[in-house]
Structures are given as C-alpha cells and as structure tokens.
Amino acid sequence: MSAPIQIYASGDHYHPVSEALPDLKELTQQVTGKSFRRIGRFIQLAMIGAARCTNLSVPKESAVYLSSGRGDLELTVEIMTELFARAQTPKPLGFVNTVSNAACFYVAQLLGLQSRSNYVCNRYFAFESVLQLARNDLMMGNVNSALIGSIDVCTHPLTDHRQRLHLSPHTEMGEGSHWLWLGTEDINRPALGELVDTRHFNHRDELLQWTRTQSIASLALSRGQFVGDQDWQFIVSHIDHAAIFDYRSNRGWYDSHSGAVIGDFFRSADVATSLLHINADDCGRFNAIFVKHSS
C-alpha cells in the first residue's frame, strides 16, 4: 500500500478554437501512424493525447482511466439534432460510439492494451476523479501501470457552444486532451516525478489542515478553474512561500483544464520542486493533487 506512484510520462494536445473546428484526421494519422475511419474528433483527440504520452509504447497491462466534463458532446449534439429536429434515427456505429468508453476502446486497441478501462466523469473534478481512482488502484496493487486522460471538445458554431456551456459570448474557447502515464516503481524507466497524493476534501478547512501535514518545501501552487477568487486568496494566504504556477492564462475554456497542469509543471523547469494543484466545486468541496519532481 505504500509504494510511491511514479509519473513516467505526460502527453497533450491543446488548440484554441476561434471559429471552425479543426479537422484532426491528418494529425491523428501522423501521431498514431494509423488511419482510422468513422471516428469523431473526441476519439481522435483521445488517441492523439495517449499516443504522445506513451510514444506508442506502454506495458500491455496498463489500465486506461478517461474523464471529461462533457464527453463526446459533438457526437451527442449531432445525434440528438438529427433525431429530434430531422427525424433521423441514430446510425448503428454512431450510436455505439455514443458510449463514453468508446474512446477507451480505441486507445486500448491502438496501444495493444489488455487491462482495465474506465470512463468516469464529474461536474467539477473530471480529471481529479480518474486520478483518484487510478491512484487507489495502483496503491492497492490492482494495476501497476495506468494511463489517465481527460478530453473536452467544442461544438460548432461556437456561439451555440458557449450558450450550451452557459459562458459569456466572448469567452475564448479551446479543446484539450491531456494524459499521464503513472506506475509503480517496478516499471524499469526513469520517472518525471511522483504523484504524492490526490484527495477530496468536504470543506476548505480540511484542505488547509491537510496541507499543514505535508512536506511542501519549494512549492508551486496552481489554481483549478472552478476555485472562486475569495477561496483562492484565502488558500494562498494560508500556504507560506509558495510560488504561483500559471498554466491557464493562455488557455481557452474547456471543462477539464486540470488535466493539463501536471504535464505543464513537469515541462516548466525551475518553477519549484513540488506542485499543489487545488480545485473546487460550487458547494465548497475541494480537491488537491500533490506532485513532485524526481530528485
């Protein structure tokens, strides 16, 4: 139960979306080396991110944990519109691909995996949710290698998309696919760092109490996209000597920003040796992810 969880690799794809949604078919083929027919951009993004994270080489026993704020919204919107506005019933493959774990299937097929796969979502803590479950599986010895991903896509046109997400009309938008490869120490390769912990807190005070028990020298602090100003100021004022790690200022809106923070941190040299990422929901619950660089 006590073996540290190593972070072996991260891989991402992010692009801002200003109007037209980018065609990802060519990029998918370029990154994966394979050609796929009849899959949408959500699944394409899953494969691009997972392929970049693993460089197409990962133990076949690796489990897949995928999350999203909205799932394959593009496909769901298309099928619902066709059905209720145009009286077109779902086509078989389109319908089957509406299952959220379809993306897990394609990732597992691409990487030749034979292990667990799960799709789990949460309104505010999408990435954090799968990270918690994966960590628990690794700690309990249920798996020794895990790919954790989060994906969110836009829908066209963006005016409709913003309205659907209840965002203001000028919100900058983006799409992202963010992946981590975690494992126990018995995977024989150098690690980027360590996942020290990821935890849910029912209240801000519980979070702050927990931070006091952690060894957080040379700490960077990152703000999850759902943490309110007041909460953030309070948290920052109670954690001494922490640098602020900004991974969001040039990022358009999508629901699973948290998926990007760990990869960005490990790519940013000399910010700090450890990172505490904090996110919140609208009920005063919090989540913390604590990682540190390999020494």
């Binding site: 019933t89 078989p92 097929q109 796969s117 789990v120 979502c121 918690q132 249920n142 209240h203």
Partner: protein, 393 residues
Amino acid sequence: MQSCYFLGSALHTSLGADSASQLRALQQPPTAPGSVIVHYADKSQTLPYKLLTGPNVEDASKRLNQVVDAVITQALEAAQLSTNERAATGLFLGTSSFNINVVEQDYRNDLLHDSHALVMAHCSSQGIFGHEVRKRHGLNGPDFSFNTACTASANALIYADAMVRSGRLKHALVLGVEMCNSLTALGFHGLQLLTLDTMKPFDKSRNGLVLGEGVSALVLGNRNPSKHHWHLRGSANLCDTHGISATNPDGSVVAKVIDMALHHAHLQPTDIAAIKVHGTASLLNDEAEAAGMRHVFSTMPALCAIKPFIGHTLGACGLNELLLFCAAANDDFLIATPGIGNNSVEQGDTKLGVSLNQTQCTLPPGNFLMNYFGFGGNNTALVISNIRANIKE
C-alpha cells in the same frame, strides 16, 4: 486493508419498488414486455420496454428524481447511516444515459416553440446529474459517475468497494440509474437487437433483448452488517479490443475476466456455487459468454438469468441484477427461468453447452459470480459472497 460490507440497499424495477413484490415476481415465470411509444420529430415508434412500476408522473425530470430519491432514501435508511456519516459518504453512480431522458424532453419542448432551438441548451454536463443527486442527499464525499455502457454500475461497485477497503472512505453509496429514453431505444432498434418477446438468454429461440428501466442503490461500509453478510469478494474489469459492439465470440476474453476475478477473490472455479449470467439473448453475445464459462468451469455451476424478468437495464444492470440475486438468495432460492435456456440434449441448443436453472432451488450461503459485458469492449466480473467466515472481523 479495511473490510467492506453491503449495509443497505433498495431497488425499483419493472417488478416493483418493494422487495416483497420483486420476490413474488422472481418466483413466477418471466413475462413479456410492455411497450412504449418513442416520439422523435414528427414520427413515433412503438418499442418493447419493461418500464418501472410507477410513479405516474409525466414530467421526465420529476419522475427521474422521484424514483432516484426514493431509492436512495430507502437504502440510506436501511444502512442506518447517521447524518454525519452521510456527510462523508461518497457517491458512485453507474449509468449509460445519465439524465438524457430529461435533456430529450427539454429539447422536444423547446422545438415546439422554436424549430431552430439549441439542442442541450439546458444541460450538457455529464457529471451534473450525480452532483445534484449528491447534494439533495447531503453526501459531501467525492462523487464519481461511471459511464461504461452495460458494466457501469458494476464498475462503480468495484471502485466504491476499493475506496472503502483502502480507508479513503468509511461509506460509499453505489447508485445504478437507467431510464427510458428515445436515443437509447431507437439506437438499439437500429441495431436490430430488440425483441417483442420475453428475453430468452441461452435459448435456441433467443431473438434479442428487451430494454428495461431500473434504479438501485447500495450502501457499502466497513462495519459489520447486522443480518446478511454480503460483500464483494473479488472483481475484474478487462477491455476487449476485439470489437466495439461485441465481445470476442471465442469466449477468450470472457474466460480471462472471470479467471482474473476468481484470482482476485482467491478462489478456484469449484468454489463458485452459482453464476448470474449477463445473458443478453443476442446470438453472438450468448455464444461468447457460454464459451467463456465453459473454458473456466469444467463442471458448470448453476446459472441464472435476470434480464428476462426486468429487461436489460444497461448501465444499471450491474447493481440491479446483483441486488435481485442477493434478495432471492436471502429468501433462500436461486432464480429460475422455466422453459428458457434449457439446453438439454432433447430440446435445447447443445452448441452453447450450458443451461439456465429451470426450477427454483434452495441456495445456501456461498460464492457467486456475476457477469457483465458492455459496448466499448468493457467486460466485468464480480465475485460476491455471503459466507460469514470470509469476513475478517
């Protein structure tokens, strides 16, 4: 490592919302499905369905919340959780459709007033349903919404159990939800997987599945239950990359996931007293499941199927079928489907090589296997047990 037990549960399916009705129905032969008229644009389609018994509420949102809230309340009361314990309880929702029936209703209503209405204008978040349910019941622990097709609530149970065993949570509420919606019904209709008849898994005349509604809740916790000692003894989940809509018909992946679950439970195949099959009554899936079980079990344990009674409740079937199996076992019987899946040499499909239990028999405490296979290659096997001696107290 903590222990984890089933502390309280509740269930509402087409068999009723109370255990007495459900047990009565499980002791009768399964009945043919009713039907539902699915409306889309200016068209409609009548499809077979096993709908919930009540509530007689037309508004999809009110109906969904009413059923879910009643089931959760009943389960929490059965588990006798205090207010403080509830506040720290995590929610593990398993569903294939979330609240899509409500999203559909909203869009249809909007289209009545504006033919260019925005689809999913009111709700486009997958996690919001679990978030709202959690809030209504004062569950402030973490919430996870599993969306892995027909294995969703079985997977939710695996992870809820793991979070309690690891000591991260003292209590977890596992919730399975599946309500009738047009997208799912027409999707299965388009795949030509539906039958108007009673579902007949493993039967030579099997011709498809019937969709069903169902909502179930199970409270897990690390304290010793007062009466029945059910617990998850082992489990496995395995992604089958053979095909996105069907598992490998040679049964190899089914066999592997069962083997993994037995290994996780520290059991041999001979330790399994009965199997609750997935049994979708489709040609290839039943072949694959039968082949997988034949591979693992040289002597086949008793097999029972629950979908003929309640339909295929998709993402909720993991918990719905498990709770019905446990309810029958608590009442000391193994569910039988007389005349369905009887593959005796004289009258059955001997190619399958397995038969469903034909007559109700007693079921002493034991270890039981639960099979679940879903779209997206998601395969799950659970080993549950009500043997008290298993429990480290």
